[in-house]
C-alpha cells in the first residue's frame, strides 16, 4: 500500500503545544501543505503573531520572523518590499489582527502590499486566557464579558474581512473553517490560492479561518467544531469575500 497522507515537509516533526482539537494546529498543517505543493519552502518567510501561535517557528520549517503584537502586516510590508520575490505570509489571531493591529492591517491592505495574511478567527483571545476578541459573538461569555458580550457596552463582532474587501488594494479574501474534512479541504485550497495570488504579484490576499478554541469556549473539541458551523458561521458566513481576478476587469 502506498502512503497517501503524511506530515508535510514544511512542518517540523514536533508536537504542537496547542490544546487538543485546536484549529491552529490544523491550519498550520494546511499552510505547510500549501507551501509544499507550490514548491516555495525555500523562499517562504512566515511572520507569527503574539497569540497562541507565537512559537509557530517551532513548527514551520521555513524562515520566520516574530512580530510584536498586532504588527504582522507592518513587519511583512518591510520584508516584502526588501525581498519582492520571496513569499511572505503573516499569521495573526483576531486580537492581533483586528484589535491592536487594526491600523497596520487596514493600511497594508490599502497599499495593496503583495503579502498573504492567514487570519485565525477564534472569537477569543486564546493565549491570554479567553478575553473578548473583536470577533467575539454577541452574548458570548468571555473572561472580560462575564455576562456575555453586549452590543451596547462592548460593541459588535467586527467583520474585518468584509471591510478589507472594500479596499481597492486587496485582491483575494476568503473566509473558511477547519472544523470538518470538507471545510478543511476548502481552507487548504484558499490558502494555496492566496499564496498563488502573491506569487503572481497580484496584491494583498487574506484567508480568514474560523478556528475552534475548545479551551476558552469551554467545549469538547467535537462540540467546538459543531459550534463553528452552527453558531459562529452564522455571524461570519463562509465563502469568497473578494476575488478580483474572478471579477470583470473594472480597474
Amino acid at each position: 500500500m502506498k502512503n497517501i497522507f503524511s506530515r508535510p515537509k514544511s512542518l517540523k516533526k514536533a508536537a504542537f503545544h496547542y490544546c487538543a482539537g485546536c484549529g491552529h494546529s490544523i491550519t498550520h498543517r494546511l499552510i505547510a501543505e500549501a507551501i509544499d505543493e507550490l514548491g516555495i519552502q525555500d523562499r517562504a518567510i512566515g511572520i507569527p503573531p503574539a497569540g497562541c501561535a507565537v512559537i509557530a517557528y517551532n513548527y514551520f520549517d521555513v524562515d520566520m520572523l516574530e512580530a510584536p503584537h498586532g504588527r504582522g502586516c507592518a513587519v511583512a510590508t518591510g520584508m516584502k518590499r526588501v525581498l519582492p520575490d520571496r513569499i511572505i505570509f503573516s499569521y495573526q489571531g483576531d486580537g492581533d489582527l483586528a484589535a491592536i493591529g487594526t491600523a497596520e492591517t487596514m493600511h497594508a491592505a490599502n497599499r495593496g502590499e503583495n503579502i498573504t495574511v492567514i487570519f485565525i478567527n477564534n472569537a477569543v483571545y486564546g493565549m491570554t486566557g479567553g478575553q473578548m476578541a473583536p470577533t467575539t459573538l454577541l452574548g458570548q461569555v468571555s473572561t472580560t464579558t462575564p455576562p456575555g458580550r453586549s452590543a451596547l457596552l462592548d460593541g459588535h463582532p467586527i467583520h474585518l474581512s468584509e471591510i478589507l474587501g472594500q479596499l481597492p488594494g486587496t485582491r483575494y479574501i476568503e473566509r473558511c473553517a477547519v472544523n470538518s474534512p470538507a471545510n478543511i479541504t476548502r481552507a487548504k485550497r484558499a490558502i494555496k490560492k492566496a499564496f498563488k495570488c502573491q506569487m503572481d504579484g497580484a496584491g494583498f490576499s487574506l484567508v480568514e479561518i474560523l478556528s475552534q478554541c475548545p479551551t476558552n469556549w469551554k467545549m469538547t473539541p467535537v462540540n467546538a467544531c459543531r459550534w463553528v458551523t452552527e453558531t459562529m458561521a452564522k455571524e461570519f458566513p463562509l465563502g469568497v469575500i473578494k476575488d478580483l481576478k474572478a471579477q470583470a476587469p473594472t480597474s
Binding site: 504542537f16 503545544h17 496547542y18 490544546c19 497562541c52 512559537i55 493565549m127 479551551t215
Partner: protein, 178 residues
C-alpha cells in the same frame, strides 16, 4: 514554621485547584499563606503547577526552591520536580498513572492511586480531592475539617451536590493506608 508545597500535573487534573483550596483553608486558619500558580503559554495543553507556602510568620519568598512537600499527578512533573524536594520531605504521587518512583532515599514517598479511587467513586474528576485527603492526613498541616471548610467555601452555596462527592473523595484519600 514554614512549609512549602508544589502541586504539579496535567492541565485538566485540577492541580491549581488543589493548591488553591489548601491555601484558602490555611489562610482561614490564620496562617500566613502565599499561593503562586504557574501561568502563560505553558498551560496550553501542557502541564500546570502551583506553589503554596504556609507559615506562622511573614513569608519571604513564595517560591519553593526546596519544597517540603511535592504532589505530582503525572510522570513529567515527577521528573521535573523530584530532585528539588528538601531532604526529609514528602513526595505524593498519583500511582494510578505514574509507574516510576524517585530514586532518592532521603524523602518519603506516598504512592496514592487517586485515579483508581476516584473511578471507584464514579467520578474521575475528583482525583485531586482524593489526593488532598491523603496529603492532609500525612502532612498534618491542617485539620481535615479546616480543609473541608475551605473547599465548601470555594465551591460556594450553589454546588451542594458537588460538595457531597468531594467530601467522599476527601475521605477516601484521608483514610487510605499507604
Amino acid at each position: 514554621m514554614i512549609k512549602k508545597t508544589i502541586f504539579a500535573g496535567f492541565g485538566g487534573q485540577g492541580v491549581l485547584m488543589m493548591g488553591y483550596i489548601y491555601a484558602h483553608a490555611a489562610m482561614n486558619e490564620g496562617f500566613h499563606v502565599t499561593y503562586l500558580p504557574s501561568y502563560g503559554v505553558e498551560v496550553r495543553g501542557g502541564t500546570a503547577n502551583c506553589t503554596v507556602a504556609v507559615s506562622d510568620e511573614e513569608i519571604a519568598s513564595p517560591i519553593a526552591s526546596e519544597p517540603d512537600h511535592l504532589v505530582v499527578m503525572n510522570k513529567p512533573s515527577l521528573f521535573t520536580f523530584q530532585n528539588r524536594v528538601a531532604p526529609g520531605g514528602d513526595i505524593f504521587l498519583n500511582s494510578s498513572i505514574i509507574d516510576a518512583r524517585p530514586t532518592r532515599k532521603d524523602v518519603q514517598i506516598h504512592a496514592v492511586p487517586v485515579g483508581d479511587l476516584a473511578e471507584r467513586l464514579g467520578n474521575p474528576q475528583v482525583l485531586n480531592i482524593v489526593m488532598m485527603g491523603a496529603f492532609i492526613r500525612k502532612t498534618g498541616l491542617l485539620p481535615p475539617e479546616a480543609f473541608l471548610k475551605g473547599l465548601k467555601h470555594i465551591l460556594g452555596e450553589r454546588k451542594k451536590a458537588a460538595m457531597e462527592i468531594n467530601r467522599k473523595a476527601f475521605a477516601a484519600g484521608y483514610e487510605l493506608q499507604t
